[in-house]
Amino acid sequence: MSNVIIKINGKTTEIKEPLTIRGLLEEKGIKPGEIVIQYNGDIIDKNRWPEILLKENDELEILRFVGGG
């Protein structure tokens, strides 16, 4: 158990290991619904979210659809 620094949506954030993407979403209170996750530049399929353990210097983009014209 240690703390690691990752970047979420461009912001530096400290998290406690071990934590998966899925775990992070639960911690932040975000419903997996129709959000999109980009992990170190790659778009990651929803069913892989519980498998991926976050590590130091990871970059995560959590995106969702909003209204737009």
Binding site: N9, G10, K28, G29, I30, K31, G33, E34, I35, V36, Q38, I43, E61, I62, L63, R64, F65, V66, G67, G68, G69
Partner: protein
């Protein structure tokens, strides 16, 4: 049946609906119903943890064609990235390219938009570039494989109507792709005017979103678009000044022996 063949699909509604700027997203299902729109645009944004919004997609009828836009992109590269993410998220292969580096007027950067169109069309996207109506660039968009061209009527959200009328008319005359007037249409009558000119469709957002009764306004736009389209198909008479009185031009054919 007057169907619009576009982006590999056939649709009957020529009103495309934008979903931004509504006072509450919960009115959107009613608005979509009243507008009869089959193509609905959405945007992609980073989730704000302090203010987690609801998921927009839950309000959009599953039968609608989603057209994610690349709003927020300032370069071709960013637009391409957003388009790829949207497709990976299951939004289908339609994308509206919107590259804006000008925060004052929100006018699109045609050059970056063209670059993004080239890349994404080659990747199999149905690309809908939002652009300032420029004939040369529109031709390049067509050659790059765009599915349609979306010239602006006036700056985004300005509700000023078809200020670019003559330029848009040239695109309609010269570019054999659907021309979809996007941005600036503030009233149903302006949507009708664009359709009468021969636009393939119009995209309306702000005028509906900020109306006193958005669903009722969506219904009004739906009727206006249909009326304008029907007027176009019926073949407008040419507006002319009074006929000039002059001698017959072809009299010589009869006057001979």
């Amino acid at each position: 049946m007057d169907l619009l063949k576009i982006g590999g699909k056939e649709i009957s509604s020529r009103l495309f609906l934008g979903t931004g700027k509504f006072a509450s997203d919960s009115v959107i299902p009613d608005v979509i119903r009243a507008s009869q729109a089959e193509v609905v645009t959405v945007a992609l944004r980073r989730v704000d943890f302090d203010d987690p919004q609801e998921n927009m997609l839950q309000y959009i009828n599953k039968e609608c064609i989603l057209m994610p836009n690349t709003s927020g992109a300032r370069t071709a590269e960013e637009a391409v990235k957003i388009a790829r993410i949207a497709r990976a998220a299951g939004c289908g292969n339609w994308v509206k390219i919107e590259v804006i580096r000008d925060n004052k007027y929100l006018l699109p950067d045609n050059y970056e938009t063209l670059k993004a169109t080239e890349i994404l069309a080659a990747e199999g996207f149905a690309v809908f570039p939002y652009m300032s109506p420029d004939l040369m660039v529109a031709r390049q968009m067509r050659d790059a494989g765009a599915a349609a061209v979306m010239p602006l009527g006036s700056p985004i959200g300005s509700n000023r109507g078809l200020k670019t009328r003559e330029m848009v008319r040239i695109l309609i005359d010269e570019i054999d792709l659907p021309i979809i007037v996007d941005a600036g249409i503030g009233k149903p009558s302006e949507a009708a005017e664009a359709m009468e000119m021969g636009a393939a469709a119009v995209l309306v957002n702000t005028a509906i979103a900020v109306a006193g009764d958005p669903a009722a306004m969506a219904g009004a736009f739906s009727l206006a678009v249909k009326a304008g389209r029907q007027g176009f198909l019926a073949g407008l008479g040419e507006a002319r000044p009074y006929a000039e009185a002059s001698s017959p031009l072809t009299g010589f054919l009869r006057d001979r022996d």
